[in-house]
Symmetry: C2
Subunit: 190 residues, 2 copies
């Protein structure tokens, strides 16, 4: 009784993120967010005066930072294009827990909050990602227009494989997607 809880900022965002990814914005209740973080509701409000909306917003922002550091930076690295893509696949595998966890971009894009405060952030993340993917393929000698097409396809198949994996109750589709990804992107250029 009366024990204080505390978590560092990164863990806090991770745990909030987990809830939103599992049940979406409307599905997430303060009780769940409190339980997941170990912080009582009032403590969450101290850290996030804007309540649930602010939590989701900051989780989305931190997802953008994560993408920047773990996906975009490696993609912009100086190794062989194929190696950079494979490194991305490894990062994605960990991030989505091998296909067990959904994508925040999907789960938050339906929030029925006044015309979506999340829409803009979601769009920016998608755009940055595709940009970086297309750049890698350009490095590998893929035509610019074709590179953009493949980049979009890659992101689309990632999202689709996560939806399908969840619907089917197996992570196989996601895992197969990850394995096929390097070839999808760098097809004739490997």
């Amino acid at each position: 009784m009366g024990r204080k809880a505390s978590v560092d900022d990164e863990q806090l965002m991770d745990r909030l993120s987990c809830v939103f990814r599992d049940v979406g914005y409307e599905g997430a209740t303060l009780a769940m967010l409190s339980e997941a973080t170990g912080l009582k509701k009032a403590s969450l409000y101290h850290r996030f005066p804007g309540g649930k909306e602010q939590m989701a917003r900051e989780v989305l922002d931190s997802a953008g930072v994560w993408l920047e550091e773990h996906i975009l930076a490696p993609l912009k690295g100086d190794g062989a294009p194929a190696d950079r893509v494979k490194e991305m696949a490894r990062q994605l595998d960990a991030f989505y827990s091998g296909g067990k966890q959904a994508c925040l971009l999907n789960m938050l894009s339906s929030a029925r909050i006044h015309e979506g405060p999340f829409t803009k952030a979601i769009k920016q993340i998608f755009e940055a990602w595709i940009e970086a993917l297309a750049a890698v393929m350009a490095d590998a000698g893929v035509d610019k227009r074709e590179a953009r097409n493949r980049a979009e396809r890659g992101v689309i198949m990632l999202q689709g494989s996560l939806v399908f994996s969840r619907g089917m109750g197996t992570t196989r589709p996601f895992r197969e997607f990850l394995k096929s990804l390097p070839n999808e992107l760098l097809g004739g250029e490997l």
Copy 2:
């Protein structure tokens, strides 16, 4: 004041479906469902004693029936495989309003209700769909194993393109997917 409302059963399911597809299970409130159908809350409970869960369940079931009639039946038709696939694409275009409306299978698969009463229905719909797609490709002379792969890819890209379209705020990805679908499925066999 005091006017009675009434809708036929099919319209009723359509309008309920619309709400669930827009905001998901948790996001849908009885107030929204009432507004969308023109029936007061108590009237909805008369028609669906099991409340919101029953509504979602019946909407999902009717989506299965719709798929059977508008997608699976044409796929099993006797035209050329390419024509059957193109007919499916037309039906999908209408069903998803050209990419403006989300997929129920995605929106309901996160319902945080006791271990998901929807999971089973969702899985069955996915399976039946892939089965029918693979059969068409088999008819077109595609190897059985390859046919299944392409069928899964098709469903995955449909889901992904809808997620991506919503996230990007444009229907272009979905429309491009639909256009590419016949070639994706019947690639070297057209």
